[in-house]
């Protein structure tokens, strides 16, 4: 390869851009830092800093396994992309690229194995003190270092990582499953050491994904076979919106009166979003509601972490559910409202709000049903554990999830308000891309500030008591109020908004979303 810089840029872009590569490198560095901490500072079994080692083990495992996943992705791309496949020496360059990725993975696999072995050993010591698989019963006050981790533990973790890597290669290399779907088993593999009872879960997840993907590609997705089979009818069918969109449009068109205005506007302007992305965001939201909401009081460290994750993940989930969809701006200009440019922001907000509301409510319905089912069956343990760890009461069943739904809706509303506030942001494709990410970082900071203020000024909510009330109050009322104020302040910008620029960036955004959805569902869009 003559130009190494271009090859590196190509490789970075293949996995999502420079920032993904930078994150990967940071993760490698952090993994080694965590290992260094563990090597230099022996800790007792109950040392709070042990959490850094556990997080380091997860991070290192994810980083190492993502490398394996990246190799399968590179192989898939190189065998499918005609331009690459038909170029001479491409096979050699692909092998070199895969080799480089595997080397980096191997570099991070060292801390991964060591930290996982450490975590697995302490896990075993915590769980069955006095009945160890190897060694003597521990003294919990004695310091525990890497020297105390038996050689079997290292071997077991190395074997588990290697076996999962091989399984990952086997499943994803052949199946052609998309890169995004591989994250889930990789994440699970990182959380499950050989000491956990669910060590088989990532293997099962891999197998399920590959089977589902095969079924999807073979029978359900709109790829070349379907195209050929329906060749004479494909043109008129293509121009029709998907059935769900068509149904919603018909329903909205019949919405009567003033209340129906928003529905009609949304139906007219909302472009059909890919079913893959919509379904995934709804499932994501539902899983959040199944797993995280709890009314536990923040007293023990584990509960504090759970609450922290619940808050942060609420923003991740809401960002996915309320991601601004592309809108046909020029179509909007042809409507009666078209001559009032200052109102465009409001129209954008109405359409986005309606879309995100629908998705949140679907997620709520699915999540509450699953939560009830898991709670009633008492299975599987890992799904109903955190949510019902304090007993299954009416509060746990109904009030807490509802409070979280209110919170997520509030965050979704705030995202819509911030997104529609400034036409300058919407006029740039970078602005449209970075906006959800920026909001995902800024809004939680704002929320934690508000939470801190409330808990230090309202006695009834102090020290994490009634945490779900604080959650609903902050995210369902205060943050949307702040967002509303900000959007009112920026509204003047819409009077001089450049509609062609917004239209152009929306077009690119729409293409990007469509492609993302197609990549996810494995269809040829």
């Amino acid at each position: 390869m003559k130009n190494m810089r271009v090859l590196l840029r190509f490789a970075a872009g293949l996995f999502g851009g420079h920032w993904v590569a930078a994150l990967w490198l940071c993760a490698i560095a952090l993994s080694w830092v965590a290992l260094g901490l563990g090597l230099m500072r022996p800790m007792t079994l109950l040392d709070a800093k042990r959490a850094y080692l556990d997080m380091g083990a997860m991070l290192a495992s994810v980083t190492a396994l993502i490398g394996v996943l990246a190799v399968t992705y590179v192989r898939n791309i190189s065998s499918r992309n005609a331009l690459w496949k038909l170029a001479p020496n491409s096979e050699r360059v692909t092998m070199r690229l895969c080799g480089a990725i595997m080397t980096v993975s191997a570099v991070v696999a060292i801390p991964a194995v060591m930290l996982r072995a450490n975590a697995a050993t302490t896990d075993r010591l915590h769980r069955v003190p006095g009945r160890l698989l190897w060694g003597d019963p521990p003294d919990l006050t004695r310091t525990f270092s890497f020297a105390d981790v038996p050689a079997h533990a290292y071997a077991a973790e190395a074997l588990m990582l290697a076996a999962f890597s091989a399984f990952l290669l086997l499943c994803f290399r052949r199946s052609g499953a998309t890169f995004a779907t591989g994250y889930l088993p990789v994440y699970w593999a990182a959380t499950q050491t050989s000491a956990r009872s669910l060590w088989w879960l990532p293997f099962a997840a891999c197998a399920v994904i590959v089977v589902v993907e095969y079924v999807w590609r073979t029978w359900l997705s709109s790829h070349v076979e379907t195209y050929l089979r329906r060749a004479p009818k494909v043109q008129p069918k293509k121009s029709r919106p998907p059935w769900l969109t068509a149904w919603r449009q018909r329903k909205a068109a019949r919405s009567p009166g003033r209340e129906g205005v928003d529905a009609r506007l949304a139906a007219l302007l909302a472009l059909p979003t890919g079913i893959g992305m919509t379904a995934l965001s709804v499932i994501f939201g539902a899983l959040y509601l199944v797993l995280l909401p709890s009314d536990a009081v923040e007293q023990r460290p584990g509960e504090w972490i759970l609450r922290f994750i619940t808050w942060v993940f609420a923003y991740v989930v809401a960002s996915v559910l309320a991601r601004p969809a592309a809108l046909p701006v020029m179509r909007l200009a042809l409507l009666p409202v078209g001559h009032r440019r200052a109102q465009f922001g409001e129209v954008f907000l109405k359409v986005w709000w309606r879309e995100s509301c629908t998705k949140v409510l679907w997620a709520a319905l699915l999540g509450l049903t699953l939560r009830a089912l898991c709670g009633a069956l008492g299975w599987p343990n890992f799904l109903q554990g955190p949510a019902f760890s304090h007993g299954a009461t009416l509060q746990q069943w109904v009030v807490v999830p509802l409070a979280h739904i209110v919170g997520v809706l509030g965050i979704a509303r705030s995202i819509g308000l911030f997104s529609s506030a400034s036409p300058r942001v919407l006029a740039s494709i970078n602005g449209l891309t970075l906006l959800p990410l920026a909001l995902m970082i800024v809004l939680p900071l704002l929320a934690f500030g508000c939470k801190w203020l409330i808990e230090h000024n309202v006695e009834a909510l102090a020290n994490g008591r009634l945490g779900f009330v604080t959650f609903a109050l902050v995210n369902g009322a205060i943050i949307p109020a702040i967002a509303w104020g900000a959007s009112r302040m920026c509204r003047y910008q819409w009077r001089t908004a450049s509609l062609p620029a917004i239209s152009s960036s929306m077009h690119i955004w729409s293409e990007r979303l469509r492609k993302m959805s197609a990549d996810l569902s494995g269809s040829r869009a």
Partner: protein
């Protein structure tokens, strides 16, 4: 000079589920010829080209490019091959210049100067992100990449479908000016619906219908031997009658292969009119 054909396809069959995309297709393209592949949507043109290049594995049959099996192309053959697909699969996150350098870096005989000149001809800005290009611009970039290393075998799958008239003109000009690096004769396989363009460049024509070869031969020979006959009564289906259609109450139109049709098959004094590529396509497919 090497006598092996540039492209050789033998008994190629391809099925997608229950649909036959290619049905026992055999053909051979001599070096230096330009084969136009013509057919309606779903006739199997893209499938044929992709099987030919080894991008799709057929159920049966085999194909060779420059004497090398398509499913196992060597780097040497790949270096002599240029391909433009219907929807170019470019790397969207790169800039135009980077995309050219990336692919160009893989070719031993890549000419950076020629690539830049082609970019200028096709009016593609070097520093633009590929994802910001329109479909037509992407198609033009794919053409630049296919031509810059001066291959002697070009495979184009509807290369001008998304091009404006100026783009089409530039493509044809680049096409006519294209020369292989070592002066070898350039072989081209091109599928397109723009028959007037094909009429200008094709030396051979292949008509596909439902995955089967409807008509194949040198263009001059086809225009010489395939004629249109209009009669008052239908002529019975037989060898040499390629297509029969009623166009009025007492008028039947027949596409006749004058070389193979029986002498007494046509009524005496039947006028046989010559057909252009467009007329022939229409007559065969309506």
């Amino acid at each position: 000079m090497n006598d092996t054909p540039a492209v050789s396809v033998e008994h190629l069959s391809l099925r997608y589920g229950g649909v036959t995309a290619l049905d026992d297709v055999s053909l051979s393209v001599e070096r230096g010829s330009v084969l136009a592949v013509v057919g309606r949507n779903g006739a199997g043109k893209s499938s044929l080209l992709q099987c030919m290049l080894g991008l799709i594995v057929p159920q049966s049959g085999n194909s060779q490019l420059l004497g090398c099996p398509s499913l196992d192309l060597t780097d040497d053959v790949k270096a002599r091959l240029g391909y433009v697909s219907q929807s170019p699969e470019l790397f969207e996150w790169l800039r135009v210049g980077e995309q050219i350098s990336l692919i160009g870096g893989l070719y031993p005989n890549w000419s950076e100067r020629r690539a830049r000149a082609l970019c200028a001809r096709f009016s593609i800005a070097d520093d633009m992100k590929v994802r910001a290009l329109s479909l037509g611009e992407k198609q033009r970039l794919a053409i630049v990449i296919a031509l810059a290393h001066q291959p002697d075998l070009l495979v184009f799958d509807e290369p001008v479908a998304s091009l404006d008239p100026v783009g089409r003109r530039d493509f044809l000009r680049a096409f006519f000016e294209h020369e292989a690096r070592d002066g070898a004769p350039v072989t081209v396989v091109i599928s397109s619906h723009l028959l007037e363009d094909l009429e200008r460049i094709a030396t051979h024509v292949l008509f596909l219908e439902g995955g089967r070869i409807q008509l194949l031969g040198a263009r001059d020979e086809i225009s010489e031997r395939v004629r249109l006959a209009v009669t008052a009564h239908p002529i019975a289906e037989q060898r040499g009658i390629l297509k029969r259609r009623q166009i009025a109450a007492d008028q039947w139109q027949h596409v006749v292969d004058t070389r193979t049709v029986a002498n007494d098959a046509l009524p005496p004094n039947t006028a046989l009119s010559a057909l252009g590529l467009g007329d022939l396509f229409e007559a065969l497919n309506t």
